[in-house]
Subunit: 387 residues, 2 copies
């Protein structure tokens, strides 16, 4: 397989936008091409994440229109849909195409207009990521899935619920602290522990500040083969490994405090990269709910199973900690434009590995990890990047 | 790039089904694994086409559940969406993964429950494949797009409309003739030219028999690298080349009698396969409407531009003609379960190249072409298979 690097990145600010998905993507895509010193005629394919374009704006075949809007000429343009991990899945197939020799320069990205729908329709349509025959019929939505995870985690590891609530609130405070230093963040403001603890209840024990927002936004990046990458930039960021895993419906899973799709994805990514958890300098991971961050830090091997909560309590996942997590602010503060989120995480890790993250820069960051979860624990995509 | 072969195929009958998308896919997927002499533990990833699962059965993240249902253990499971060409796009990325060396055995397929929706919802949701900002607002649906194509074709090539209507009816009669010999076909019955000519009008000049049906159905295939393929089967069918192209909204296209996304896809596929149109023995192509078949036979280079109609008039696209087209019955007679259609076309070409097509067998078929169109001429995926 050929070596592949990320040579350009672009992103809209996440938050509320009056633009369409195509228009937002155009902003991110043009920025990525500019950043990569490429022009539309150089880019040989588009790999795009977009999940609910059909509900958001009656648009189901959006990839060709995104390609045309930024001047890509009749190139392969494919839309990926693995719920919240769609853009990361798109990135992985973009990487594969270059690794295989099918193309030398391609674009991966995502775009989503999730705020537009409003909370009611967004909650209903997001719930379509769960299993249809049995689970949806119980009325479960995603806050419910992760509320169950928090309850199971508290019981299994014997952590009193009041203590777990405080730990989850600390995750929110940390991510908002990081997001306040990120000009692209949707909710880029500090919050207090008190505010996080006393927010309105959503799905016990998850309250409003345990949940990430729905966001509008788009992100894009340019990938290139080794020869091309070295010509385009002095700071190529190499794809060291990728992994992807899946799982069946929740009723087939024995223990929802562990995400078995993630275990499969991480094992694949570490093996390909010939790296171990201790080699990772920082990580962007899927904190759709604060309990999800705690579980993910265990699943990715940064902490022992059942001890992820120590990461936030002891400050190990803070900016100056052993393994800084969600330096961008994460989904919680940076925002969650579903089909764009994964490449938004790539945007942050590339920014950090280039040393361009300003006040939230992790000193000496050389290897970064990206983790995106799709659906009710059903899909996970992981990517390892290195300087 | 490593050589890749199709080593197993499976498909439900197309038509009306009482099963869910997951259940239909399980039937096709298990058949494909059995045909390939593989078991679930051998299959390393799933690449799946599914377009309207969210509208059909509130299911938007279906690939992991399809994988779990047939026993694939936590493997990468990705859903592709490029409208009607979704399964073909899935096949192309499945091929790429093996060519790159990322996996040795993977499954590609698709599943769709389009009949379930009924004509009104299906027409509305299919129309979401068109461009949102300007085109949809005109009220256009797909019969309208291809009705315009037929009108433009008649005018541009100076073919009187009565003559073109007869030629289009001859396409329908030919494809139903083929489909009547296909036990998997949705509308597997002969029709007369008179019946085809006198059907109710849908979008002038297209009548009911100019249009393919909506179908329920699922198809699957197993792809493997050269070493593995030779161990699994005596009749590997090799992937000689693939191509994919896109185009912007219709208002950006100068001439809708030509599908520029197809020109890009075909150029890429022929180049990779080091083949020319004259080398192709038979073709499954996207006859969503009868005029679309005529245009596609030109775009793929089997006939000169503006002369595709001669193919059906002179019998060159018939089973015993120079370049048999849609020996399965095509979308018109075999049926069109949107997200499954592309791999259904692969199923037919593999069956033919193995010499297992029974009464509709093309003698001595060695090289077959697959062409699938997605959306309002916006996406085309092509695959060339050889014995």
């Amino acid at each position: 397989m050929r070596k592949v690097a990320v040579v350009g990145i672009g992103s809209t600010k996440y938050g509320k936008s009056d633009k369409t998905c195509v228009e937002m993507f155009a902003e991110a895509g043009m920025d990525a091409m500019h950043d990569a010193n490429t022009t539309p005629k150089d880019v040989e394919a588009l790999y795009l994440g977009n999940v609910l374009g059909d509900y958001e704006e009656d648009s189901m075949n959006i990839a060709p229109f995104c390609a045309a809007e930024i001047g890509l000429k009749n190139v392969p343009a494919t839309k990926f849909e693995t719920a919240c991990s769609s853009a990361t899945a798109a990135f992985r197939d973009a990487y594969t195409a270059i690794a295989a020799g099918l193309a030398d320069i391609v674009m991966a990205g995502g775009t989503e207009r999730a705020l537009l729908m409003g909370t009611a329709l967004a909650t209903k349509t997001f719930a379509m990521g769960t299993e249809t025959r049995y689970e949806q019929k119980t009325g479960i939505t995603f806050p419910g899935v992760f509320g169950m995870m928090a309850n199971a985690y508290s019981k299994k590891y014997n952590i009193p619920m009041d203590k777990l609530k405080e730990l989850m609130a600390m995750v929110a405070v940390k991510n908002h602290h990081n997001g306040a230093m990120n000009p692209k963040a949707h909710l880029g403001k500090e919050i207090t522990l008190e505010k996080a603890l006393n927010a309105p209840m959503i799905a016990d024990p998850l309250n409003l500040y345990s949940c990430c927002p729905f966001s509008d936004g788009a992100s894009a990046c340019i990938l290139a083969t080794e020869d091309v990458a070295k010509k385009l930039t002095d700071t190529p960021i190499w794809v060291a490994g990728t992994g992807m895993g899946s799982a069946g419906p929740l009723y087939m899973q024995k223990d929802i405090t562990k995400v078995i799709a993630r275990e499969a994805a991480a094992q694949m990514a570490y093996k390909q990269a010939k790296l171990e958890p201790k080699d990772i300098d920082l990580c962007e991971l899927h904190d759709c709910f604060t309990i999800a961050e705690i579980a993910a830090t265990e699943g990715l091997g940064f902490f022992k199973i059942g001890e992820g909560w120590k990461g936030v309590e002891e400050g190990e996942t803070s900016l100056d900690g052993r393994i800084p997590v969600n330096t961008s602010g994460g989904l919680k503060s940076k925002g969650h434009p579903i089909g764009a989120t994964g490449v938004g995480q790539v945007y942050e890790i590339v920014t950090q590995l280039r040393g361009e993250a300003g006040p939230r820069q992790v000193d000496g960051a050389e290897i970064g990890y990206i983790d995106t979860l799709g659906g009710d624990l059903a899909a996970v995509v992981n990517i390892i990047l290195r300087r």
